[in-house]
């Protein structure tokens, strides 16, 4: 039974695209057949993070408008044979996406894949509402920072009212994914803690992704972090999160802070 998962946040720059790529690759590595769909029309980037930017011929809008068939627009990952990408358009404007068009593409993808992961654009406009419209589950990417938490709360409200599931009186299954978490700073009272965020958002936790250079390194070379350096802390955190999405129970590891001796002796350094 196919699952439609939206990766959303409201706020930009919190790690939606990185998380879409990393979770998609991790699910595909576990043998699931996965398609990651870029809904950021006009500002596509999932292709770049996935390392497929030079292979884009047709896109989501072409399929919506009937210019191309879905099979022509899907790009198969070169590393994982059961991972596919449906890119967004770079040139069209976002009004080219229609509710009916998205609905029929999602319905067709449901017949071909186990997971349809929709990478939402930032904001709460058309692109973001259409990315979540047909979702069964949602990953709300949140940074431990006030504006991100506020926007996540807003998005949670939309997931509970503007989705097809919500309109049928059902619930989109929601998960919070905390990214760019810095345990040391949270322990020093400089950053909202995991408990703070979960208490405020009242939504179950999918995983904690630590702030890490490995994330930038992976996007630099166009590889999901779970493939680029599978042993790295963020990759392991994403892999655990993907296993939880598949229904496994995996112990939640709070990334440990690496504090130097001097740091301990002198207390905090300027942040």
């Amino acid at each position: 039974m196919a699952k439609v998962l939206v990766v959303t946040s409201g706020k930009g720059g919190v790690g939606k695209t990185t998380s879409t790529a990393a979770l998609g690759a991790a699910l595909a590595q576990s043998g699931e057949k996965v398609v990651v769909v870029d809904f950021d029309v006009g500002l596509r980037n999932l292709d770049l993070v996935m390392g497929a930017e030079r292979r884009v011929v047709f896109d989501l809008i072409n399929v919506v408008q009937g210019v191309a068939k879905l099979s022509q627009a899907l790009i198969r990952d070169k590393r994982l044979e059961n991972l596919w990408l449906l890119p967004a358009s770079q040139t069209r404007d976002k009004d080219a996406l229609t509710d009916e068009g998205v609905g029929s593409i999602i319905a067709e993808l449901r017949t071909k894949f186990d997971w349809i992961i929709c990478d939402s654009p930032a904001g709460i406009e058309r692109g973001a509402t259409l990315a979540m419209r047909y979702a069964d589950e949602a990953v709300i990417v949140t940074n431990p920072e006030v504006s991100s938490v506020r926007d996540s709360d807003r998005i949670i409200g939309m997931l509970d009212s503007k989705t097809v599931k919500a309109e049928k009186g059902e619930q989109v299954k929601k998960h919070v994914l905390i990214t760019r978490y810095d345990t040391a700073r949270a322990a020093r009272g400089e950053m909202l803690t995991i408990e703070d965020i979960l208490e405020i958002l009242a939504t179950p936790l999918l995983g904690i992704i630590p702030e890490s250079q490995d994330v930038l390194r992976a996007s630099n070379v166009g590889s999901p972090v779970t493939l680029n350096n599978a042993a790295s802390t963020p990759a392991r955190a994403y892999t655990d999160a993907a296993r939880r999405l598949m229904g496994e129970t995996v112990a939640m590891l709070v990334p440990t802070a690496r504090k130097g001796l001097m740091d301990r002796l002198l207390g905090r350094r300027a942040a």
Partner: protein, 92 residues
Amino acid sequence: MTASLLRFFRGRTASAPVARERLQILLAHERSLRGRPDLLELLREEILAVVSRHVVLDPDKVIVKMERGESVSTLEVDIELPNGFERIAAAG
């Protein structure tokens, strides 16, 4: 334990509790408004309609602001009228 001790000695740097408190207050307020029409937008439109019956107005020149205080809040309505608006009204 260590964290709370550290926090105790360096109370000045612990801004996260402030963040949490501000969020809790703000979100309680925002959640209560969710799904309802935007009050300010509604006021703006209705005030605009009333004044427009008598004066020709540029809709962009009607500014409605609200400032929330602890015990009272203030509503500020700023309407820019073109010069000679009385005559326009009399003629209309």
